[in-house]
């Protein structure tokens, strides 16, 4: 171990963290909790309007897209059934079997 390493080791050994407790830390925390409990819903939303607005817009957009996709899927399934029904009326081969 060279001299610089020895010095660093000594400095680290001598280093002590002296954490000073914040004055009124605990009462301040409880005061914030009580304030939050008393806060009305409108005040809560007003305080976080941007976040909730973005969240709501995204949720509405996703729900709209899902609704549209479901409506399209339903329409496709019904159209498929209609094509089969339509061809059944047009196809003598099927009608011959049905009338048989």
């Amino acid at each position: 171990m060279n001299s610089s390493e020895t010095k660093l080791s000594e400095a680290l050994q001598a280093w002590r963290v002296e954490a000073r407790p914040a004055a009124n830390f605990r009462p301040d925390v409880w005061a914030r909790i009580r304030r939050a409990e008393r806060e009305s819903w409108t005040a809560y939303v007003r305080g976080r309007l941007a976040g909730w607005a973005v969240g709501a817009a995204m949720a509405v957009a996703v729900a709209g897209l899902a609704g549209n996709a479901m409506a399209r899927a339903k329409l496709e399934a019904e159209r498929e059934r209609m094509v089969v029904s339509y061809l059944t009326e047009l196809d003598p081969r099927v009608l011959a079997k049905l009338d048989h």
Binding site: V83, S85, L90, P92, A96, L98
Partner: protein, 160 residues
């Protein structure tokens, strides 16, 4: 915590309502009614945006085709019955059965060709885009349709 839950519930309720509104209003009311009622002509009119003239022309084509369809149907029934009889009869030459089978297959092929010609004529009455879409929906299903379609479809089929 309570406020966050209320907000979340409200956002979810609004989103669900938006989803339902979009789902209900996404389609074409006339098309949905035609599909729900199983009305093929109303479906053609709504789905392919037919004008009155186009609709009338296609209806005439369908009416004319139904005569041809009835003739084909009868021919197939006769050929099919003849084949069944030959198969159940004893001592019938294999060539005779094979000839009856060929006759039935020929009639099926004639039918397939007649349907394809008919739907192409219908498509020609529509706008170019609608005609293409109609053919894309219908043409691929025509080949061997009688082997694909369920035999007991409860659709409003016409009787010959």
């Amino acid at each position: 915590m309570k406020n966050r839950s209320i907000s979340l519930a409200l956002v979810l309720a609004v989103a669900a309502a938006a989803g339902v509104v979009v789902y209900r209003n996404s389609g074409d009311a006339a098309l949905e009614r035609a599909l729900a009622e199983g009305d093929a002509m109303a479906w053609l009119r709504a789905d392919f945006g037919l004008t009155e003239e186009q609709f009338d022309a296609i209806k005439t084509l369908h009416d004319d085709y139904s005569v041809v369809c009835a003739e084909h149907c009868l021919e197939i029934q006769k050929a099919s019955l003849a084949l069944e009889r030959l198969k159940t009869r004893e001592g019938v030459a294999a060539e005779t059965v094979a000839a009856a089978e060929r006759r039935l297959e020929e009639l099926r092929a004639v039918c397939e060709s007649a349907i394809a010609t008919h739907v192409r004529r219908c498509a020609a009455m529509m706008s170019a885009e609608a005609g293409e879409r109609y053919l894309a929906l219908v043409l691929p299903k025509i080949k061997d349709f009688d082997h694909q379609a369920p035999p007991d479809l409860g659709v409003n089929r016409h009787r010959h």
